[in-house]
Symmetry: C2
Subunit: 490 residues, 2 copies
């Protein structure tokens, strides 16, 4: 069947879509979501069909194509292409099976993950997979298989020596331990190449914070050479194509803010397996606003991580930490980077909670991968002697240093309205305020906390300062604080 | 926040969408699927946000709008509009609750259905609702509430007298009983306004077949006057806005061909309740390719229909019928209309199976709504005396008669390759062949069956004739038949 190409002048940036006029589709018995093969001479490409009701957008006899398809087929407005109906990908059958409660095997999960990676499934089909995995759950075997499939469908990087890694399942503002732990462990001569994420719903991810000091978007070869030189790196994993299906699954989870356990486990472990990490420390903060908000859930997650890690041949240690309030004083990329530097440089203003937690994590990693008897002691020595800071400078130098941004020039002090003690700090409110003020997009935006839980406060005492890069955003943040300060004083 | 309108020159025909450049969205902390309020002077409209990676499609500072939004806001290319973040509709929270297994109440289901009706939910959000309802199931109470919500969010029509209705849950090619049952029941003076659907995945819906004889797309006032005159109508319900959420839910079920029981029940009953039907006969064909493919499933569905009908104050009778093979000889709009006319006109070539089943259904309706003791006898008399045919002519006249289309001029005879008996006719294959030949879009396309199950056949005997309106489509059908004839001879 021949159709005339109409250049829709849009780049979707994902799924390959072709649009036919509704009447043509009726005649051909095609439906929205069907797959069609679009052919021109020797090139062909499978697209997901979308329908247009209007003749204006796509008239009968025409086929609307987006940039990605036009480029791959090397056709343009007015070209004639052939189309042919092709069935849905086999993975749709497996998704249907999962919806009916069937357990999936490796090959089936591989098909699904491969099709997700290559944008061959529609949002509706992907959502059914996530919903079915969520409501029926994934067994240990399915989670292991899903993890393996995610690794196989992405890039894999191998380093010369035993590779350590750490991961925090998140939910706590501040908490920038990675940038302290990595230089300590690397200074001890252990290999710990860290790929981190940018913030999705939080005020800063490790990649956003590290970017205040050094480049984090680096090609694979460069990363390998940095790790050879410094035993470590702190880079953005997003562009490295490690287990790329993961991000595409998360996109579908976000609209309902669901966190399917099996997918969380697979997501974390696939990224680690992709960089051949063999010794992994996982930090599960427990608190009201975290994924593991009860002891039961946190311990359940620990058991799962350890069990699945074992089946994947990984040495996993899980630690459950206090997630009841922000860790460190800065919230937002630059303000968190300042905390990190103060700790690495052993400055008196360094936040004690972030320092203590980082040393504990670094100590555990030294014991796991370096055979240290008293890791905490060793980690403390490496930090206090300035070795960690020297190591961090080497890492920054190797990744390419950046001029540190400035704190947001618009500030506002939030003060206590009463006398008492800080009874609670709401992680979600604090994160929200920092984001409204501009973090993580505005590097210098965010909060600097002056009080933590249990601190005594007088009326008028500073609780925190908001930093924003424009008066407009500061005002938006102020408006939020007017309704919700995030602090409970009793 | 002010943005410059870019007319995307596309009509989506559904959801109201606005597109921002990815970088603008990042700055504003907005994500794909978020809701934004787009304002111009006094008009405002809530849109679902989509993101563009390319500057070509939507540059920074611009907002891409589709026809529907441009029309409602009365803005055009280059206008300046204000945008504001608004939260997701409350119904998203209820969908999330259902995903976690919570039972929903009327108000919650109403919110969901109302938002679906008004295109306020994304495909992902709708899919979560369908998937959650499917995996967790809907309780009797939830199904009743869903039905009521579907009715409340659509048009309701009330007729002067007690209203009868019939429904078949489908899956059988041919089986055009409605067009025989309705004139019989109406000839007895009972009110039976029938709204039917067009084919979605079958070779013909009742509306497609009736359209060979009369207009089926009629405005509400016209339908009321037809029913006053003739006690009946056989029209297309699709454009009448009865329980419109139903079609939008089905759209999301189709990609995975799932049929959530609760939604099926609500779908059927909501359409009936919308036309104030109080006595309803439901036909559940049982066979390999039907929704109820075992006795257990068919009886389970019967119990559900009766139980839910009771709670909705409807008198429902459910009959389980033979769904093992096509009913009648014609498959496709015109070929089925021919069967109907032959029966109504008491012609000798009338297919006995379709006639018998139609009389049985009509008889049951006469007993349910007309107080007849022996409905079958009364129905047979009405048919044989020519009263039913006279009534049908009145209905056709009132709806506006149409010239009957011709049978497809390209034909091909499919013959038996061996001697024996017809052991099985595969409903799905037969439907597929008719659709490939052009039905229901080409009215005269389809199949005319010459043999039914248990019929003896000689080698070379005609099994069926394929009709198509073009040699091209006939060839496509031939190619299919080459692999799968749809008949099993033993």
């Amino acid at each position: 069947m021949k159709f005339k190409v109409k250049d829709m002048d849009i780049a979707t940036g994902g799924t390959l879509v072709a649009i036919l006029n509704e009447n043509d589709a009726k005649k051909l018995d095609l439906h929205s979501g069907d797959r069609i093969l679009v052919k021109d001479h020797n090139k062909e490409i499978t697209c997901i069909l979308d329908l247009s009701e209007s003749r204006k957008a796509v008239p009968e006899g025409s086929i609307g194509l987006f940039e990605e398809v036009l480029d791959r087929l090397q056709v343009r407005n007015g070209s004639i292409v052939n189309i042919k109906f092709t069935g849905k990908p086999e993975s749709v059958t497996h998704i249907r099976d999962k919806l009916f409660g069937k357990r999936l095997h490796y090959q089936e999960l591989y098909h699904i993950v491969d099709d997700i990676t290559n944008d061959r499934l529609t949002d509706i089909e992907k959502t059914y997979f996530v919903a079915a995995s969520f409501t029926h759950g994934l067994s240990i075997e399915e989670t292991v298989d899903l993890t393996r499939a995610m690794v196989e469908t992405g890039k894999k990087i191998k380093f010369a020596s035993t590779t350590l890694d750490k991961h925090c399942i998140g939910g706590i503002p501040g908490n920038r331990t990675t940038m302290i732990v990595i230089p300590i462990v690397a200074a001890a001569g252990l290999t710990i190449p860290k790929t981190s994420s940018r913030a999705i719903t939080s005020p800063a991810g490790t990649a956003d914070t590290m970017e205040c000091l050094a480049n984090v978007e680096l090609p694979e070869e460069k990363i390998k050479s940095i790790v050879r030189k410094t035993h470590a790196c702190i880079v953005h994993g997003g562009s490295m194509n490690l287990a790329p299906a993961d991000d595409k699954i998360i996109e579908v989870e976000q609209p309902l803010s669901i966190d399917a356990e099996g997918q969380l486990l697979a997501s974390v472990l696939a990224k680690k397996l992709s960089v051949s990490a063999s010794h992994i420390l996982i930090d599960i903060p427990m608190g009201k606003s975290t994924k593991a908000n009860t002891w039961k859930k946190a311990k359940h997650l620990r058991t799962k991580f350890e069990g699945i890690g074992k089946k994947l041949g990984m040495n996993i240690r899980v630690i459950i930490t206090d997630g009841s309030q922000p860790i460190g004083n800065g919230i937002g990329p630059l303000l968190e980077a300042e905390d990190v530097l103060a700790i690495l440089q052993n400055k008196p203003e360094a936040p004690a909670d972030l320092r203590k937690k980082s040393l504990m994590l670094a100590g555990l990693l030294l014991e796991m991968g370096g055979g240290y008897r008293n890791g905490l002691k060793a980690a403390t020595e490496i930090l206090e002697s300035g070795q960690a800071w020297r190591q961090m400078k080497k890492i920054i130098q190797a990744q390419g240093p950046r001029t540190m941004p400035q704190r947001g020039r618009c500030t506002w002090a939030v003060r206590s309205g009463k006398i008492g003690r800080v009874h609670e700090i709401n992680n979600e409110s604090i994160a929200k305020i920092a984001r409204i003020a501009g973090a993580p997009f505005d590097k210098g935006a965010g909060l600097r906390l002056a009080k933590k839980v249990h601190d005594p406060v007088q009326r008028g005492d500073l609780l925190y300062t908001i930093y924003a890069e424009s008066g407009f955003k500061l005002n938006l943040a102020k408006n939020f604080v007017y309704h919700d300060k995030g602090y409970k004083i009793q």
